[in-house]
């Protein structure tokens, strides 16, 4: 493609073409590769067109939405579809349930994995802790479909066939990966810091919450954002685990536009837009950690 004039910025997060070249001697002149830029902008349409269709459909009237032309601009513009989607899906209730699942998953994934990782790293020379680590890692090989049927039965049996049960399952299935991330990060924190704090009489509890946990901040941010995106968007687990349709999360609620209201395209798209919105907004504000986290996770 564009290898002729490739350069590599010194820093992964270097913004724009103004910064590269700092501190490095370049052989070639700093020329913008306009051909590659043009190709990428065309490719970008592949991402933007479906999003444009979602937005423009959401603002159309029902009459215009059924004409089959997805790419036309809404005329006249209306907010009716949002109002209808709001009541049809009982959006406020679904939203609160989705928020509950996501927040529980985010807090749970961070705290449970960080605690376990700290205990494991500080007691690595003990068999119990070492083996626990490998035991937890085994979960990487067990996807949800494999254990789904007994899980559905068990959650029903103990009264966890509800949003709380889904949040717990999100925590469990992410446990292996998160614990691995936290242990890798904890190994890079020097022991001396902790020892001086213990010298001053602090116990393990204080050391963890006052020193270690704050140091884990960037990693917690990454784990938390991925926990949010995964749990907010998930359809498979809530659709199978939550038995009461009144307690379903936002993605599962979208199904009613396939079964009951299949001709109200504008209402459906307004609803889809409201379902996508929160995750996209969170992403736009936390991009830095999303990028860093993904590459960290892959390389560690």
């Amino acid at each position: 493609m564009s290898t002729a004039t490739r350069t590599i910025p010194a820093e992964p997060v270097t913004p724009g073409p103004a910064a590269p070249g700092k501190g490095r001697v370049r052989t070639g002149p700093q020329r913008t590769n306009w051909a590659a830029t043009a190709v990428l902008i065309v490719c970008m349409l592949g991402v933007l067109v479906p999003l444009y269709v979602t937005i423009s459909m959401a603002f159309k009237t029902t009459g215009q939405a059924v004409d089959g032309n997805a790419f036309s601009l809404p005329a006249p513009l209306t907010l009716d579809s949002f109002a209808q989607a709001w009541t049809l899906t009982n959006f406020p209730r679904g939203f609160l349930i989705s928020v509950f699942v996501s927040v529980t998953a985010v807090v749970g994934e961070i705290v449970v994995s960080a605690l376990a990782a700290y205990a494991i790293v500080r007691n690595w020379d003990r068999r119990l802790f070492r083996w626990s680590f490998f035991y937890l890692l085994a979960a990487m090989f067990i996807p949800f479909p494999v254990v789904a049927l007994p899980q559905i039965q068990l959650t029903g049996l103990v009264g966890l066939d509800n949003p709380l049960g889904v949040a717990i399952l999100h925590i469990v299935f992410a446990l292996a990966f998160n614990t691995m991330l936290f242990t890798a990060f904890l190994r890079s924190i020097p022991l001396e810091l902790e020892e001086s704090m213990r010298m001053d009489g602090a116990g393990t509890w204080q050391v963890f919450w006052r020193l270690i946990f704050p140091l884990l901040g960037p990693m917690s941010a990454t784990v938390g954002i991925f926990a949010f995106i995964a749990s907010w968007n998930d359809f498979m687990m809530p659709s199978l685990i939550i038995s009461d349709p009144e307690l379903q999360t936002i993605p599962v609620l979208q199904k009613i536009f396939q079964t009951q209201f299949s001709n109200s395209y504008n209402v459906a798209f307004a609803s889809y837009l409201m379902a996508m919105g929160p995750a996209v907004i969170v992403y736009l504000f936390t991009q830095r950690w999303v990028m860093a986290g993904l590459t960290q996770g892959a390389v560690k």
Binding site: R6, A36, V47, G68, S132, P145, N233, M276
Partner: protein, 312 residues
């Protein structure tokens, strides 16, 4: 990334001797550590190990999910291998995963090459390219379902292309293409970010030295870039397979396994265990599925050896 490995300012490395007595001092484990470890082990055991063991035991029974049952040996497993519906699901899932892994890796690599070259608006472009990763699979599948079954046929008719003038999702031979497309749409970003990370680890000096020697761009790509980022391709392949083998959300949104059963994935087949009363039977299917997934993962990890020591 740089913030991740930031050494704490107070961490002055003292003489190595200072370490020893401190380590000896904590010779007994603080019981609090057990308390820290306990929640993970407890929820893991209750939510994964227990169901896994139960499912394994059930796979040798004739249980329908409730009530009495008896052990029937490996009859379920034999039946799975003779079940054309299940075998079809395996065939579809494996073929779909393979095609999607290839498509995603090629697109992600090309985009990563583009985004690490001297392009304008790099940050804005990357921001947009990552958006599909944060959108719910089933929701975007519903959007594409509309496009595939309404807008695309309209365009096909307008352009006089016969193949496109009816919905591809209603065509048993083409529906899987729609699923590959939407799955790729959603999973290219994460693979792309991993490739970008890989491309950034190649020191620019290598290219500079190579271009002084008069190497062409193609030569650089073929003999420098590709070998150096092979490890990242393995990561993307392993992670990709792990996701695609469990495909569910996007298929439900696009075709719900249809037309007929032409796009039914293994996960969808297993979940039917609650509808058809063949609970134990689908547990046997799940056990087989688990073994196949592990086998695929292990085969891939064998290839990782000697590829820069990067493992997912």
């Amino acid at each position: 990334m740089s913030s991740m490995t930031k050494p704490s300012p107070g961490a002055v490395v003292t003489a190595p001797a200072a370490r020893k007595p401190a380590a000896a001092r904590i010779s007994r484990v603080d019981p609090l550590y057990y308390f820290f470890l306990f929640p993970s082990l407890a929820i893991f055991t209750l939510a994964i190990t227990l169901p896994a063991v139960l499912g394994f035991v059930y796979s040798f029974t004739n249980s329908v999910g409730f009530g009495d049952f008896e052990f029937i040996g490996i009859r379920n497993f034999i039946a799975v291998f003779r079940d054309e519906g299940v075998l079809g699901a395996y065939g579809f899932t494996l073929a779909f995963s393979l095609v999607t892994v290839v498509v995603v890796n090629v697109l992600a690599f090309l985009l990563a090459l583009g985004l690490t070259s001297r392009v304008r608006f790099r940050t804005a472009l990357r921001t947009v390219f990552v958006i599909p990763m944060v959108i719910s699979g089933i929701v975007i599948a519903f959007v594409f379902q509309y496009l595939f079954s309404n807008s695309l046929p309209l365009m096909g008719k307008g352009l006089g292309i016969d193949l496109l003038s009816s919905s591809i999702l209603a065509n048993p031979d083409l529906a899987w293409l729609g699923i590959v497309f939407v799955t790729a749409w959603q999973s290219v970003p994460s693979a792309m970010l991993i490739y970008i990370a890989g491309l950034l680890t190649v020191p620019p000096e290598v290219y500079e030295a190579s271009s002084i020697d008069g190497a062409s761009a193609w030569h650089n790509l073929r003999h420098i870039t590709l070998p150096l980022i092979a490890g990242y391709a393995v990561i993307n392949t392993v992670l990709g397979f792990k996701n695609y083998l469990n495909a569910y959300d996007i298929i439900v949104g696009l075709t719900d396994g249809g037309p007929g059963v032409s796009t039914r994935s293994v996960a969808m087949a297993i979940f039917r265990g609650f509808e058809g009363g063949d609970y134990a039977y689908q547990m046997a299917n799940a056990v087989i599925f688990f073994l196949i997934s592990v086998a695929i993962a292990l085969i891939q990890l064998r290839f990782t050896r000697g590829k820069g020591g990067i493992a997912a």
